[in-house]
């Protein structure tokens, strides 16, 4: 039996990788994947806690997080395609019409 703290450390690492990727990557698709990584970290922590507490509500939350992630990915990719059509780049530094 693997103790729950191992899962939590892994989920923390996944989440931190996602946050780091979000902050340092410049390609929109990669940034998007970083967000998915964050959500997977969240999912892992929910499942680990659900197992620890023997309560199913955590797993239910994971279902919804997965569906939300898919919906977000669908809308996100659609917006990315629209952005690409109007300006032919997927680098966030070049998507800069709006600023201070």
């Amino acid at each position: 039996m693997v103790p729950v703290s191992y899962y939590l450390i892994l989920s923390g690492i996944l989440f931190a990788c996602g946050v780091t990727g979000f902050l340092i990557k410049r390609n929109i698709i990669t940034i998007f994947m970083s967000i998915e990584l964050m959500l997977n970290g969240v999912n892992l922590s929910f499942v680990a806690f659900a197992a620890e507490w023997k309560a199913l509500s955590g797993q239910v939350f994971v279902f919804f997080v997965m569906v939300v992630a898919a919906a977000e990915a669908a809308v996100g990719l659609a917006i990315i395609i629209a952005v690409y059509r109007t300006r032919e780049t997927l680098n966030v530094d070049q998507v800069n019409l709006l600023k201070l």
Binding site: M38, E52, A78, V83, T86, R87, N96
Partner: protein
Amino acid sequence: MGGAQYFTGTDYLLSLPIILLTLFALGILLIDLMIPRELKWVNAATAFVGVLFAAGGLVRIQLAQAELMLQGERVEWAFMHSMIMDHFAIYFSYLFLAGAAIAILMSVRYLEIEHEHHGEFYSLILFSVVGMMVMASGFDIVLIFIGLELMAISTYVLVGFLRSDKRSNEAALKYLLLGAFSSGIFAYGLSLFYGLTGSTNLVNIGIGVQRELTARHNHASPILVVALLTTCVGLFFKIAAIPFHQWLPDAYEGAPTSVTGFMSVAVKAAAWAMLLRILIWGLYPMRKVYLPLLIFVSIVTMTGANLAALTQNNLKRLLAYSSIAHVGYMLLGLVAFASVDYPDAAMTDGLKGILLYLLVYTFMNLGAFAVVTSLRQRDVIGDEIDDIAGLFSRAPTEAVLMLIFLLSLAGIPPLAGFYGKYFIFLSLMESGHYVLASLAVLYAVFGLYYYMRIANAMFMREATDKTRLPISVAMKFALGVSAVATVYIGIFPERFIKLVTWSAGL
């Protein structure tokens, strides 16, 4: 085996407005497929009727609750304590519906001009209102999260609705990336609270947190602090408090103007409903822990937003920064709430201040955005300060109404905006935060300066384009409702103060 043992009639009754709105939103999708291009206004009309039906559903709930109250029964909980239709939720639901109704009226002509008049627009507005209602009435973090995401995803699409417009695309992209990022952080915080307390229900989370705190002599354990911090960061992202505000000016500037108006009131009010639900109803035992965080964020927000607004030349961006500044003032109400113990006048006044602020803000800010929306013409984007110059000679009524909205936003006494600020400053004084109160008053004076810049342009400067501004009937109606509400709340505030007292359940 009947259905009765799972969901009861009460469950369906209390979710009636949500069900109705969903049906109308789906209906619009199907109707839109069948009607020709010239009849697109039918979608807007259907959406408006849907909003009215949902309001009727809310009235139905209130009547049923009042009736059962006479028999000494409180009917508020639904779906096994995961949803609560209390006064707070009903109040916010009305607020969302008002915002959606005015936004729908503003959109019809605007979308015609942009050549993007599709039924999905209205459908998405209704879906996002469904999400908001779920956020306001959810008492289970699962439900609150779903509501949040339903609202957010609908709004991402609305922001990017002008598909061939570079600014709209870019705004949608930035909003989506930061919105999804903040949702991730928020969900992580929620997962930690779940892990600490073993429940997704806010009641049990509150009890669990209290137990944790008592066991450690009111010192929060590191994991509890991390959970609180990540949750709060997610919440601050959603209400756009500095330093988590970067998405807001971009999203507001790039979005279709009617959507900007909708976002600045309904989406913001929903984020506030969620924040209050979690921080006041759920994490009440931790209020001494998050108080310093609130003080810091509110000071930074007021300072940053007011300074940034001074230099803006784009109207939508200026109003965006002003809306961030208003978030700073509202946070002060929460500061007053969190720094005293029950029962204290500062607690009720702080909460009343926030709720009243959100109500008057809905009307005055939508009114201001309605005027900006009407500046959009066939070949004029119309969101720079130069575009509003000389408005008094082009459309005198609109210019005067805009002045009313601006004065109200600045918080000048006979108008509605004053009372929101009044209660918040009052609660600050009552809870002994004199420095914060004087700082807030100072920034309110700052605010007057940049609002008057717009007024100065409207009345003192010459118009570049001297033709009269065409205003659609729906837009006139939206402007009229906003203006009447702004003035009426300002002159007869007692009734509305009673209303917010009722809604806070005090």
